[in-house]
Symmetry: C2
Subunit: 245 residues, 2 copies
């Protein structure tokens, strides 16, 4: 047997998220059932990040361990021939047995894309969250700089998953304008559950002028009431861009 | 009453095409039902081109005649609030009563987009036709140059719609590469039914090396058996980019 690193792309619209679940169509389950067809037995897959229902990926990473039945090019081609049109294996590489998609990850990069225009996006509407009223880019950038760095992001995590520590090193949080789009890039050693969507929620309120950039420090103090944090931004604007090892 | 020129965008995936039909969901019918809601009576709409089922538009044009009930900005906003997420009115302008979306049109621009790579496109898969084996760009460009100009495009039209003449002036037919995509742009004073998709079908066969560029002249002679023309390319790769008046 040998260990493989798979880089994956998916349109999250019709997936219940990464994680295998009893009934719903998850990325992990669809991938595992394709592998089962190719190997004739269950082949479990471990993902770098458990993206939520509706979240997309351009660079999700997973590992798996397979018997030496197929060469890598043949496995790659066969997998993509079986997988549905909203899931693609971009690359397959052999890695040492010590490689673990989640635990070996050094940095993850998520991108949240807003459509900030009174018109509606037609062709990529499933990958954007629309805010018709103009957002203040400069203020959002000021707030993003304040949130960058090593902090306790307790106020930005959603409960529902156990976590040892809520301290994370947010190496980068940037906001850029590209035509009608506002692109929020977040890079960190790891993210808490819903963290990017909650950071985006705060940046949106800052952009609307409802929260001053100077006030975002307040969210970085533990035991603040969570209700103070603005709403979580919807899943469809979020994409896992890549994982560094 | 006054006449309006509407510029429209739509994702053709879930439409039965432009033309109103008894049962199916057409762009024309969806637009007319939105106008009926705003004016309380039937408001017919005439389109520049009757795009087929599955064909997209970034610059379809239509005209209509409405009573002076709403100002243009209010009508624009109200229409887009009613229309579904796959149809957008990009702009509305007042035009002289002599303006006719179809008969006043001087030039139409269609774009056909191919994904030419063994991988599959995930995020814009509904707007591309995939050909995994490499196509010869230079040969396709040679063939396109030969098809450009004023010709009898009889062999490139599908029957099913009556037409007085099959002569058209194909002012531009170009093929460009952009990463994994091949972009075919066609501009003409008018197009025959299925003409762009049939032109694309021929260019694909040329790119595959099955038809030499020198042979495309044969298709420009009338009374050739239609069966000789390669298959019509699928609708989802086609987009009406704009109409000039």
């Amino acid at each position: 047997v040998y260990r493989l690193k798979l880089t994956l792309q998916y349109d999250g619209t019709d997936f219940s998220g990464w994680q295998r679940q009893k009934k719903d169509r998850s990325v992990q389950a669809v991938l595992e059932s394709a592998l089962r067809r190719l190997y004739g037995k269950p082949i479990p897959v471990v993902g770098a990040g458990r993206t939520d229902s509706g979240v997309h990926a351009k660079g999700q990473v997973a590992h798996t361990t397979v018997p030496p039945k197929h060469t890598l090019p043949i496995l790659h081609k066969a997998l993509n021939a079986i997988l549905p049109e909203d899931l693609l294996v971009q690359s397959i590489r052999k890695v040492p047995n010590s490689f673990h998609a989640r635990y070996s990850a050094k940095e993850k990069w998520y991108r949240y894309t807003l459509w900030n225009d009174p018109s509606r996006p037609i062709f990529d509407r499933k990958f954007l969250h629309t805010i018709p009223t103009p957002l203040d880019l400069r203020k959002m950038q000021q707030a993003a700089r304040k949130l960058q760095g090593k902090h306790d992001f307790w106020a930005f995590h959603s409960t529902g998953r156990e976590v040892a520590s809520t301290i994370r090193n947010l190496k980068r949080l940037s906001v850029q304008k590209e035509d009608c789009k506002l692109i929020i890039d977040a890079k960190a050693d790891g993210f808490l559950y819903h963290m990017v969507r909650r950071l985006t929620g705060v940046l949106i309120e800052v952009g609307r002028g409802k929260v001053p950039p100077s006030a975002v420090d307040n969210y970085l103090r533990k035991n603040k009431k969570k209700v103070l944090v603005p709403p979580t931004a919807p899943a469809k604007g979020l994409c896992l861009m890549g994982v560094k090892y």
